[in-house]
């Protein structure tokens, strides 16, 4: 079944380029003499962008049913809330 809704192989390769490039950028940034908290923040942001790219284009969430996005977002939000609550005492101390 051929469909226009599925991205082309060319787009998949462009996404690969971005995934590899962002990963290498993160590795290079980790070697820079800047504050560790800045490095952690930037690299986690880069990792999140990579995860979003994979989800949207490789897992087809961008063109897929919205219910699938809800199924994915619900545990992410709950997990984020749980980790934030666990870490809250430390954050408040800071």
């Amino acid at each position: 079944m051929k469909s226009a809704a599925v991205p082309s192989p060319k787009l998949y390769l462009i996404i690969w380029f971005w995934l590899a490039g962002l990963m290498l950028l993160g590795v290079l940034l980790s070697e820079l003499p800047i504050s560790k908290s800045a490095i952690v923040t930037i690299i986690l942001l880069l990792s999140s962008i990579k995860a979003i790219l994979v989800s949207l284009y490789y897992m087809h969430l961008k063109a897929g049913h919205r219910l699938l996005a809800v199924v994915l977002l619900a545990p992410l939000l709950l997990s984020g809330l749980a980790v934030a609550l666990v870490l809250s005492s430390r954050l408040i101390r800071l």
């Binding site: 995860a51 897992m59 980790v83």
Partner: protein, 202 residues
């Protein structure tokens, strides 16, 4: 069934109408992946809490090679691309392409595990075990559970590859290529976060 979900289905068989408009197998896989998100968030969350609350975090002490970790991450990213290219080949009804990209995905998965196994053996030869300190117990727990998932993904991909041997099998089970792909991408996303946490931040 909505046009979108139908368009994204690689099922060669007759589409089955569902209440959600999403094929049951696909929805089931997403719900399973949602439970896996909770599982890995629990593990990673425990690691972060231990890391932040430990007064003198031991770290890998130069026993983890960023170069090897980077290469292995690249291997997994490549495998995510090859399996989505297998899906594209299925959409274009190219069985040769499906086989080629699936085999490439399986080989890349095996390469990832081979490198991880080599890393493990190097650690063992230096007498670094899960009991060595809190960092290594976290390292082995996180990477071993991830490796188990990679192994499961390879098994799933091998099964799908087996369905390409005859048209009759493919007509019945070909749609599971998309499910195998979803699982494989999830395993890739987990590693996207594990790599910096273990190799770059420690």
């Amino acid at each position: 069934m909505s046009s979108k979900s139908h368009a994204l289905s690689v099922s060669p068989g007759i589409p089955v109408a569902t209440a959600t408009g999403i094929p049951n197998g696909k929805l089931g896989m997403w719900v399973f992946l949602a439970s896996e998100v909770m599982f890995f968030t629990g593990l990673i969350g425990a690691y972060i809490v231990l890391r932040l609350s430990h007064p003198s975090w031991p770290g890998p002490e130069h026993h983890l090679s960023v170069g090897i970790g980077t290469f292995n991450t690249l291997v997994l990213i490549c495998s995510s691309t090859t399996i989505v290219l297998a899906l594209a080949a299925a959409e274009h009804r190219s069985m040769k392409g499906v086989r080629l990209w699936l085999i490439a995905t399986i080989l890349l998965g095996l390469l990832f595990l081979g490198i991880k196994g080599w890393e493990y053996s190097a650690k063992f030869s230096h007498h670094i075990f899960p009991s060595t300190n809190v960092f290594w117990s976290c390292y082995y727990a996180l990477t071993a559970f991830h490796a188990l998932h990679v192994l499961g993904g390879i098994g799933f991909n091998l099964w799908v590859l087996g369905q390409t041997t005859t048209p009759a099998l493919w007509v019945r089970h070909g749609h599971r290529l998309e499910l195998a792909g979803l699982y494989w991408h999830f395993v890739d996303i987990v590693w996207i976060f594990l790599f910096p946490l273990l190799y770059l931040f420690s």
